[in-house]
């Protein structure tokens, strides 16, 4: 009945389906683009934070001046290698933006090649520690000052946990495929989320592999360092 009526009233009154919309330019979906941009910005922010938390450690000894790397854990605490600060008559810390900070003391760990250094002035940024050691194949970035030159970021991947190649520690070492050089000691190994998963302390002579103290060992060393800070602090100022 309705169809008959509609048919007799003329087709112009029957609602027509909407006309085909003109082809939209092949732009990306704004929502997807925004999500990608936010993810990229987050990753960039995480790495930038790690970069700004990196420091260059200058160790002035009786015979020479050596440099290493490190990273800030909080406003006045940074982590580097024990062999960077050992034998130092004077320690200085340079931040990523050229500020020079005075060191008030350092603590070396016994379980691994680690040292905790305290600064008088505030560090510009700090980087968080990962909750667990990384899995094999995980992408990481080594942030440090190879050869004492400008701040560098070396992308790489975790190979896995291995025995200490130097044989100096019973703790396992984290093997990373990333380019390092002398001066990279103490560099932070940062995961994709910007958390520290290791501290570089050795490298292959070819420069293709780096060995790092895993974050689990670093946490143990940090816990132990809080009770021995006063005793170990005097060890950084030997008489020449």
């Amino acid at each position: 009945m309705l169809a008959l009526v509609l048919g007799t009233t003329g087709c112009s009154l029957v609602p027509q389906p909407p006309a085909a919309v003109a082809a939209v330019p092949p732009a990306r979906d704004p929502a997807a683009a925004a999500v990608d941009a936010i993810a990229a910005a987050d990753a960039g922010t995480a790495l930038r934070t790690a970069v700004r938390a990196s420091v260059r450690v200058r160790s002035t000894g009786c015979q020479s001046v050596e440099t290493g790397s490190g990273f800030a854990l909080d406003a006045h605490t940074l982590v580097t290698n024990a062999h960077v600060v050992s034998g130092a008559r004077r320690l200085q810390v340079d931040t990523w933006d050229g500020h020079q900070l005075a060191v008030t003391g350092s603590v070396t760990a016994t379980v691994a090649d680690l040292a905790v250094v305290r600064t008088r002035e505030a560090l510009p940024a700090s980087v968080p520690l990962a909750t667990a050691d990384p899995d094999a194949g995980e992408a990481v970035t080594v942030v440090g000052y190879p050869r004492g030159e400008a701040l560098a970021r070396a992308a790489g991947a975790v190979t896995g946990l291995v025995d200490d190649p130097l044989g100096a520690s019973s703790a396992p070492a984290l093997q990373v495929e990333a380019r390092v050089a002398p001066g990279s000691s103490g560099s932070a190994v940062v995961d994709g989320g910007g958390a520290v998963v290791g501290v570089v302390y050795a490298g292959a002579t070819t420069g293709e592999h780096a060995y790092a103290v895993p974050v689990s060992v670093l946490r143990e060393a940090l816990d132990a360092s809080t009770s021995t800070s006063d005793r170990a602090a005097s060890a950084t100022t030997p008489a020449c």
């Binding site: 009945m1 309705l2 009526v5 509609l6 009233t9 009154l13 029957v14 609602p15 027509q16 909407p18 006309a19 919309v21 939209v24 330019p25 732009a27 704004p30 683009a33 925004a34 941009a37 960039g44 930038r48 970069v51 260059r56 200058r58 002035t60 020479s64 001046v65 440099t67 004077r90 200085q92 340079d94 931040t95 990523w96 933006d97 050229g98 020079q100 000052y145 004492g148 030159e149 400008a150 701040l151």
Partner: protein, 133 residues
Amino acid sequence: MAADERRGAERSAPAALLPAPRRAPDAAGGVVRPLLRERPRRRSRGTSAVVLLLLGAVVAALALSAHLWGAAQAWRSQAQDAEVQRDRLATTSVELQRHLDEVQAALDASDARVEQLAAEKARAADLREASSR
């Protein structure tokens, strides 16, 4: 004789119209029938109702068609507005992303310059420390 006299009287009478003698209904004829045929009243009302019903249906269908047409037009217009707004937002998003990329590139360049200057300053400090040692 009497018949002759009657014929003579008819012949002599003028040709005037005389009322016909009213005749009583023939009792022997039976039923008296009306001259006009009576319409069946019940059937006439039914036809009117059907016509009115059809008319109402046509009016309702017209109203429904108008309503559907208007609704379709409104939806089509709204869809076109949404498409325009989406295109505008997409354009704005692309422009903002390009601007953000430019700002990010400038920030990276300035960071690299700061790092380079910091490295030069640190190397100078290394040399100063080495010379003063």
